[in-house]
Structures are given as structure tokens and as C-alpha cells.
Symmetry: D2
Subunit: 341 residues, 4 copies
């Protein structure tokens, strides 16, 4: 059971009284403090009694009995699709979005070249890592703030929005100054302190599925963000780790169709990390559209063979342009609309 409380109309003392009352009714409860709302998750048996006892209280906005372990993200809580708005741009509902760019921001000139190509192909959102989670401490770790500035300049020149990864709660303020969307990478999907902090921010969040996370764990990670009152979450399937090594990961498109049933949040697919092979990016992007995804995130590089990381899975600007055209033609057959220029 989820109890949504208007934060302005309740005192700390009253919150304590609510949880005490829940305890007396046999419920364990957990209070999550968002910006404008407080969410109390309560677990116990006599839901009807509890609902009756609480719904008359003036500060209680809504009480929703939910059977699933994830609550605010579920379709039981909210049946219609969530739209995430980034200024004039909409992600989710009946749109199909493309986020594109290099794995890592490497230097100003090459990023500008990619950004220009993306814009010309009709792209609206530029991706590029400046804080890179690398397996080896001896690998390129990203350009940090310098990279953010490059990203900002390249995006501004080409009227693109920016999505980029945060790896540490202490990076959120800095990254938020430049980016429109914060990305939580697969390795940090269960970095709960980081989830809480992006939940406290007012930025849209792309939440990648952990490489060995179940669908339920993924939705529970999203719940950590929503419970802090940030409902602008975009889920991103990027392949799971299995025994199969002929692809970098195993892209789980059935999970996309399943998650679209379970949650009202938009779901996108990253076929670049999902397969690790640029030749599979185009068929898997189309398959993602067919599976019901709300968009794709793809790696594009002006010269893939020279990329600092992940060159093998990057599209050239030319191939990206073709893919965008294909997707735009196909989208209406799946009740989606792709906004390009």
C-alpha cells in the first residue's frame, strides 16, 4: 500500500503519528521524503481498515493498494504512459526517440562533426560520456568537466539536447549544469545512494538495466528515484550478461515488451552495447521498435576505427542517417511517430 502525502500540509510530528497509527494497524512502513510529496510504503494485512483509517486525514492525497513489489512505477499506480518532457521535446507515449553520439567525448572537433551529422540525420539528443566507468584503471577515464563543456558547445551549435552519465553523487550538480538528462549506467543500477540523489534532482534520468539485473530489480531501482518525487525516468535495456559470447551482451527485447506492460515509464533500447557489433545495431533498432520500445540510444562516431572505446559497435554518420530514415518510415506501422526536422 502506498500513501501519498502533500508535503506542505503536514508536519514532522504528524508524519510520526501516521507511521505510529500504521504500526498499531499491523503495518510496517517506510517514509520517503521527496521534494513536494512524501511517500509512505506500508506492508501489512488489513489494507481496507488501514485505508479507511487514513484516507480521511487532510494531508493524505491518495492511497493506492498495489500488489507488486514495485509501486509508483507500476501500471496499477498509473495506467497511462508517462511522457518525459525536455523543453519542447517529448519522450514516451506515442513518440520514438533517438539518442546518438560517441561512447566517450574525445575532443571538440570530432564531437562537433558527429553532432552535426546527428542533427542533419534528424536527431534531437546527443549522448557522450565524460565520466567513463572503465574496467581497467589504466584505460581512458573520460574528460570530466572539460568534456561537459565540449558536449554543451557541440549540442548548442546543433540544437541538440544532452544525455550523459553520472557515476558519483558528488558529480550530479556539475553534470546538471550542462546536461538535460542524467544517465545511470548499468554498473550503477544498484548504486542506491546515487539513485536517491538523482531522485532528489529535478532532471530526467535514463536508468540502464544492470547487466545481471532481473526485470523486477530494474523496476525497483526506478522506484528508488520515483519515491524521491522524480517521476521523469526513462528505462533503458542494454543487454544482459549470459553464456553467449558471440555478441557482447544478450539484448533482451522480450523484457522491453514485458516492462511496457508492467510500467507506465518510457523504455528505450541500446543496441550498441546490447550487441557490441555495429552490423546488428540497425536490425536490433528496428526490432526494438517492433517490440514496443519508445526509442533507441545508439553509438555514432565520425570514424569508428579510431574511437577511444567501443569503436566496433559504433555506426558511421552515414549508416546512422540510413537507420534514422528507416525508423522514421517504419514508426507509423507501430503506432509511433518520430520527430525529426
Amino acid at each position: 500500500m502506498i500513501i501519498i502525502i502533500n508535503k506542505e500540509s503536514i508536519t514532522d510530528n504528524e508524519i510520526e503519528q501516521v507511521t505510529l497509527r500504521l504500526k498499531n494497524l499491523g503495518f510496517n512502513s517506510h517514509v520517503s521524503n521527496g521534494q513536494s510529496r512524501i511517500v509512505i510504503g506500508a506492508i501489512g494485512e488489513n489494507k481496507k481498515d488501514a485505508q479507511k483509517a487514513l484516507e480521511a486525514l487532510p494531508y493524505v492525497e491518495k492511497i493506492v493498494p498495489i500488489s507488486k513489489p514495485f509501486k509508483l512505477v507500476s501500471r496499477e499506480f498509473k495506467s497511462h504512459d508517462t511522457k518525459v518532457a525536455i523543453e519542447d521535446l517529448t519522450i514516451g507515449e506515442n513518440t520514438f526517440s533517438i539518442m546518438a553520439g560517441p561512447c566517450a567525448v574525445e575532443n571538440k572537433n570530432s564531437l562537433k562533426e558527429v553532432a552535426k551529422g546527428i542533427k542533419q540525420a534528424g536527431g534531437k539528443i546527443l549522448r557522450g560520456g565524460v565520466f567513463k566507468p572503465r574496467t581497467s584503471p589504466y584505460s581512458f577515464q573520460g574528460l570530466g568537466e572539460e568534456g561537459l563543456k565540449i558536449l554543451y558547445e557541440a549540442a548548442k551549435e546543433n540544437e541538440l539536447k544532452i544525455v550523459t552519465e553520472v557515476m558519483d553523487p558528488r558529480q550530479i550538480d556539475l553534470v546538471s549544469k550542462y546536461a538535460n538528462i542524467l544517465q545511470i549506467g548499468a554498473r550503477n543500477m544498484q548504486n542506491y545512494e546515487l539513485l536517491k540523489e538523482v531522485g532528489n534532482s529535478n532532471k530526467p534520468v535514463v536508468l540502464k538495466r544492470g547487466m545481471s539485473s532481473t526485470v523486477e530489480e530494474w523496476l525497483m531501482a526506478a522506484e528508488y528515484i520515483l519515491v524521491r518525487d522524480n517521476y521523469q525516468v526513462i528505462l533503458c535495456e542494454r543487454g544482459i550478461r549470459t553464456f553467449e559470447t558471440s555478441t557482447r551482451n544478450t539484448l533482451d527485447l522480450a523484457a522491453v515488451s514485458l516492462v511496457k506492460e508492467l510500467t507506465h515509464l518510457p523504455v528505450i533500447v541500446d543496441p550498441s552495447h546490447g550487441t557490441g557489433k555495429w552490423k546488428l545495431v540497425s536490425p536490433m533498432s528496428k526490432a526494438a521498435l517492433a517490440a514496443g520500445a519508445d526509442g533507441v540510444m545508439v553509438e555514432v562516431h565520425q570514424s569508428p576505427e579510431e574511437a577511444c572505446s567501443d569503436g566496433l559497435q559504433s555506426l558511421t554518420i552515414e549508416n546512422f542517417t540510413k537507420l534514422t530514415q528507416n525508423l522514421q518510415a517504419l514508426a507509423p506501422h507501430f503506432n509511433k511517430r518520430m520527430v525529426t526536422n
Copy 2:
């Protein structure tokens, strides 16, 4: 290196001479005896010398140097798509095929009802198990020959072709009397004696991917069949076993796109076993088409809630009809054509 030999023009003695000659050239070789051709797989260093030494021999049809561990199934061996012909029906190339029917043949009336529904929806191939590989010895094991007769009658009445599973080399002759296509199930993908025997038969074969088989192992299993001179093999992706339990298996659609690059054989997808949830069958069938598959195999039951096995993943006739219509409309956008009535 693969040496293809015309069987009629060579004696056993001459074969021995060829392998001896290969040995002297530093090659390990393996002779596979097909119906009309003999294939010698030879592994060694000086391919050019060996090719020169052998290609002049009168009984040598063709010598193909192939770098991959799988040879006859590879695009290096044969670049254009293989078409599998079942009388007037074609599987592969630019067609999209649907194989449909219940998991198990249960009784005559219900199968006839399903078969009629499949025909009316435009289906051409009826599936249904009569020898069932069941986890428990206490579960329904299939109707055996009685089931074959029911299958035959229902198919004939509705002008459908038949695909059904064989689990034991000793069943092949019997099943071949009734079925148009022999199916090798996931659990038997590496049952090499069975593969050899279906290779010796002259029936088309659907070869399901093992639930923990890599793409390479799957293609090597197909190689066992082709090397016996049976080239009519249809690969079937049906989901792999991973940590994820929210779907029955993890449907690996990227493997489909990848395999279409590696082999000339047709590849179909089984979204029923691949997901275990009927609601996901339709989006995954469309995603399979988008991924480049040559068809789907789906479970259809006249009354899924009463099915002996796998009811949760079976479509009703009504939903199957809708799916067929959807796929027929979508196919041309993926350069495929679906033959219905």
C-alpha cells in the same frame, strides 16, 4: 578446407588414397558419408598445395577453403540464401513462414479445430508434438503413432504441411511417413547420433537452438546434418537459459540477425517457448520479422487454459488470426512476402 566428392564416381579404395595423400600433406581429415556426396573436412596449414594436388582428381567436385569451424552451413561456402521446398511451399529467401499448432497433440477433435483455424488465418504448416520431451516421467509423454495419425488427418483436411519432433533415431522412419518436416528439439541439439540420422534422411529439418548453446555450437550441430548430404535445414531460435525468470527463456533476437550473416540457411523464431507468455508472442513475432527472421513457430490452442502443457504461452485462434494479419501487412516493409490464401 572442405573437399566435396561425387559419391558415384569414387571407390572406397580411392577415398582412402585421398585421406592418405592429405595426411602426407600434413592434414588431419574426416570423411562424412552422405547419400550422393562425400564430404572430407581437412584441417592443416598448406591449403594452397593441397588444393592444387587434389582439384585435378576426377571425382573431386569442389574444394572450398573455409576459415570458420562450421563449413557447409557458412556463407563462405554458399553466399545466397537457401530455400527449403516442401512440395509447393517455400521456406527461406524472401518469404516469411508461420508454423502453428498446439504444443502437444491431445485428441482428434481439438486438433481439427485448431487446424481449421490455422488454415482460415492463412497458415500453411501445422505443428504439434506426439513424442514429448518432458522434465518429469510422470507427465504426459505424447500420443506417439496415434498422434501422428491424428496430425496427418487434421493436416490433410486443411491442406497443411506437418512439422513434428523426433527424439530418438528409431522414431525417424515412423515419423517420416506422416510428417513433412522433422523437428530436433532444444534438448537434443547436441544429440549427435540423432543429428546424423536426420542427416541421412531426406526430410527437411527444423533444428532448435539448445537452451545453453552458443551460436557456434548451433551452427556446428547443423553442420552434422549437412555433412550427411541433407541441406534442407531450418534453424530455430527459441530462447536461451539465463538468470532472468520473468520470461521462460531469454529470446536472443540479436543471434537471429547474426546467424543470418553467418549462414545461408533459413532461420525462424519460436516466441512461445522463447517467452513463455502469450502476451509477448505477438510483439516478439514482429520483432523477429524486423530482426531478419524467415518465419515464426507459434503455439496455438483452441482453449489455452485447458492445454495439457504450455497453455500460458499459447495463442487463441482469434489472437493467432490477428497476428497473421499483422505480420502479412508488415512483411513487405522488411522485404519479405507472406504466402497465405
Copy 3:
């Protein structure tokens, strides 16, 4: 519920009456025909009524209500450890057995050398494949009957018992003439026709766990053999397939401890296939003993670097001798006794 029936005292007609009676009591039942006993597995609600109705019948030996999906293999059915006897040799209970030998039988001289080494180290059981399940049709497929004869001669000279793999129901009679124990390999763990036939034989069976089989599926595969009245089954853990590639498979020793709780059958471990690295065979053999295993199956080769297959995971005779000594010293600390010369 399991109903055990004395085969001699019942007619086919009476069996039909029993199943009819079960049907009327609301039970689905499945009859398995063993050599001297018939086992009826019955699934339904009113177990007490059914038990009362049936236990008075003269041919009914025993009725056991069992909650688990596996019945005859479970400790609920038989609480004390099963001993498998091979002439004078015992496997299971408080013994620790070692089965050793090359992956494949290659030729007489080298096998005799290995067999002699094994005997001198105190080994009692010789392993060696003559029918080999190989991923590639171009790899060495085993020596077949010739290999069986070599195996027999080498074993006889050194007073060893023989365990070797069968891959096809049609090989069972032949192999049974030479071998003391039939092995079902990991790839055939769910080859149910093969399981039924070794169930019909009167030979002890080593049943390897499938590379992606759950503990429950493994025990159900054993149930297929027991239900045919062959109770001499030895389970063998040989590693499962996971994402980890630094070892060939992931040896699941916790499954060994768990299975020892669930079943009365002996359980051994194959650390050679389980790890794919000979250096890990010794520590994993000791860990298997500590985990409660009843023995190990290890690959030994007189000259591992020249082996036809799996040389990297084979012990030299010298290292095998050391391992045997170590295990013999350690066994008593784990309430096990190792019979050597």
C-alpha cells in the same frame, strides 16, 4: 503419490483397473513399466482416500505420498544412502571413489600405460570415451567397438572396473558387454529415450548433470531411470555453463551438498570438465570431498600435451598419484573411507 506394484502379481487388465480407479478418485496417473516392478505416479488432491482405497489390493507393495516433483530419488522415499555395488566394489554411503582415465580411448598402448598408473596409484575404476559427443563433425568421434575392446583389455590386466559413455539407445547392448557402468553425458541428460533404455538395462549408471540443468531437472532425469526399476544411479556434477570464461564451466559444489540432502543416491564430481584446467583438479577434488561428495571422476593422460581432446584438463599419472594419496589421507576427516590397494 507413488504406487509401487509387484509386476509378477498383476495383470495388464488389473493395471488398467487401478488407473481407472485413480481417475475416479480425481487423480491423473502415469504407469512406468520396470523389470520387476511397476511404478504408478499419481497426481491429485485426496491422497488419504486414494491411499485407503488402494493399499488393500494384493499386488500393491507400497504407497508413498511425496511432496517433491521427484519421487523415487528423494530422501522422503528412502532415507538412508544408496550403495551401488559393482562386484566387490561399493560406491556411495561412507566410501569415496575415484574414476580415472583419458577423455578418449586413443590406442591400446597408451591406454594400458594409463591404466597401469591408475592401478598403482590405488585406483579401481577406469574411464575412457569410445563414443565421443564432439561439437564438430570434423573432430575425432571415438574408436567405437574397437575402443571398447581396448578398454576391456586394459582394465582386465589391471583389475579395474570400466565406466564409459553411451550416446544412443542402440549402443547400450554393445557397451554393456564390456563396461561395468554406463555413463550418460551432460549433453544427453535430457535425452529421455536414452534414459528410459538405461533404466531398462541392469547396469549402474553415472548420470552427468546437463550444462544448463537445474538441480531439480537433474533429479527428474534420474527419476526416469529409477522408475524403470534401475536404482543404481550415480549422479555426477561436472560444472554448469555461466558467463564466466576463465574456467571451462562453473563447478557447482553447493549443488553437491544440496543434492546429498535431497536424494539418497551417491553423488560424484568431475573437476576436469568442471574447470578445464588441470591445476584446479586437485584443489577442487579436495573441495568436493569437503562438500560431501562420494567420489570424483578425473581425467588422467600419460602425456596430456598429446591428447586427442581435453589435454589441458588432464592430470599426469604422477600428479594423479599425488592427488590419490592426498584424498586418502583427508577422507577420514570427512567420515569417508577410500579403498585403494
Copy 4:
């Protein structure tokens, strides 16, 4: 190639010159700044030339060519076992250590009861979580600083050392005031910012293997800590995620034996999380000892059925005492010595 530099004897300007020189020699290099040493990882071809050019420089302590992707953690870098010292206590080399306690610190009285039991059984190190990474935001998240104080008091009264988890770089200073060892949990194994910060601390670190991390990724994560000049790292195998659900995770003991060959760092095993079943904790602890582990971390609770989390995998104090006695008796047979009172 690894270049170790004495930090005090070099200026920033000189470091730049070194990397420039490496660049001219064709090397990509990465500088990691530790407390007293600087480590430059350099990747390129002509190692001999580079070594000659650099080893004469006064501030260069050591140059080590290492073939593996992990450097400082490898046995190539340091062949003898690392001992981690916590005051009078040693972990690693020929010792076998036990870390024990509840999953989460719940309240003062129960923790004191457990701590007393652990001390009486001969335990030396108390574990207990105060910052808990929980799948659900509605689950108990740990007592935070209050828990640290309870942990400190219970440990002090019983002369135990403390190990507890940090989940966020911002918690390190606080936790370091109370704990002797910082634990990085499985979910944070690739939280690289956190790894860098515990690398900058002067506390010993237990680094749990990620639930889908390969052995190589695990060692690379440890490298992140060593490269910052913190060599006191204890690796902890806690089970990996596979398809098998009969145990909570699949405990990978072969990885323990393998890692002991690859690295000089101590390796311990967590059979509680590794299996999720308290009955398997004892056999798996013994198997860990047999596999070459340097210790175990086990969950102990005064009343497992009442635990806030993970009760099913917790030992009672009584069973823990038995296990300690068993391990103490067995340790010498594996060249280990267990220090108890």
C-alpha cells in the same frame, strides 16, 4: 608495464615529462596518484627500450613488465602472499580467518549477544551492515551512524575487530572512525569512484566479487584500489548469478583456487550469500578451506527466524561454534592455522 615512482622525490612537472617521454616511445600511459607512490601504467610495444630509458631516472623506484591486464594485484608483480595486518591480527598467508555476525545491525542487545557468542567460539572479527543496499526502497535500509556506534561498543566489549560496508564515497570518513575493515559489496564492485576513494583511505578493504563479474573484472576492480597505494585488499567470493535458483547464488570455489594462483592478495569466501541456505554454510566453509581460501565470512544471528534480512542463511550461535571447531581441526591439513583464543 608498470612504473612505480616515489612521490616525495618527483615534481608535477617531472611527471609530465615522464608521460611525454613515454608518448614519444610509443606508449599510452595513465598516472594514478597514491598517498606515497605514483603508479604509471604504460601500454605499448617496445618495452625494453622504454625500460632502459626510464629506469635510470632518480625517482623511478621500479619498472615491472606485466603481461596480464591486472598489474599490481598479479603474482607477476609480487610472488609471495600478501598479509593484511589489523593491529595484532593477520589475514592471509598461512592463516584462516573467520568474519562473523548478522547481515544487518538491528539493535544493541541482540548484537551484543551475537558478538559474545562469536568471541566465545574463538572468532576475532565482527561483521554487520549499517548501510544496507536493499533491492526495495521500502525495505529496512540500515541504522547508519547509530549502527556504527552499536557495532563499535559490541566489538570493544568482546575484543573483536569490525568489518562493515560502505556504499558511498561520502560515508568513508564516518565509517573509518569505527571500523577496522571497509567492505565493498557485490553491487558496488564496479562503482569506480568508490573504489578510488577506498584506495585513498588507509583502511584494509574487503572487495566482494560482483554477482556477474568475471575473475578478470574482479581483479581489475582490486587494481583500482592498489593503484592508489592501498595494498591491503582482501578479495571475497560470494557467489555469482546463474540460471540455477535452488541456491541463492552459485558459489564459484574454482574461482578461489584460480585467483589464488593469479594474485598475491588474500581471498575469502562468503558461503551465506553464496548459497542462501544455512545448511550449506558449513559444508561450503570446509570446501572453501580445501579450495585454498584464506578465510570465510559467515552470517550469524542469535535468532535467525527473527532477522530483519537474510535469516534463512544465518547460522545460530550454536551452529557457528561447531563450525569454528570443525574448521580449526581441519585447517592444519590444508597448511593453514586458525587463531582462536
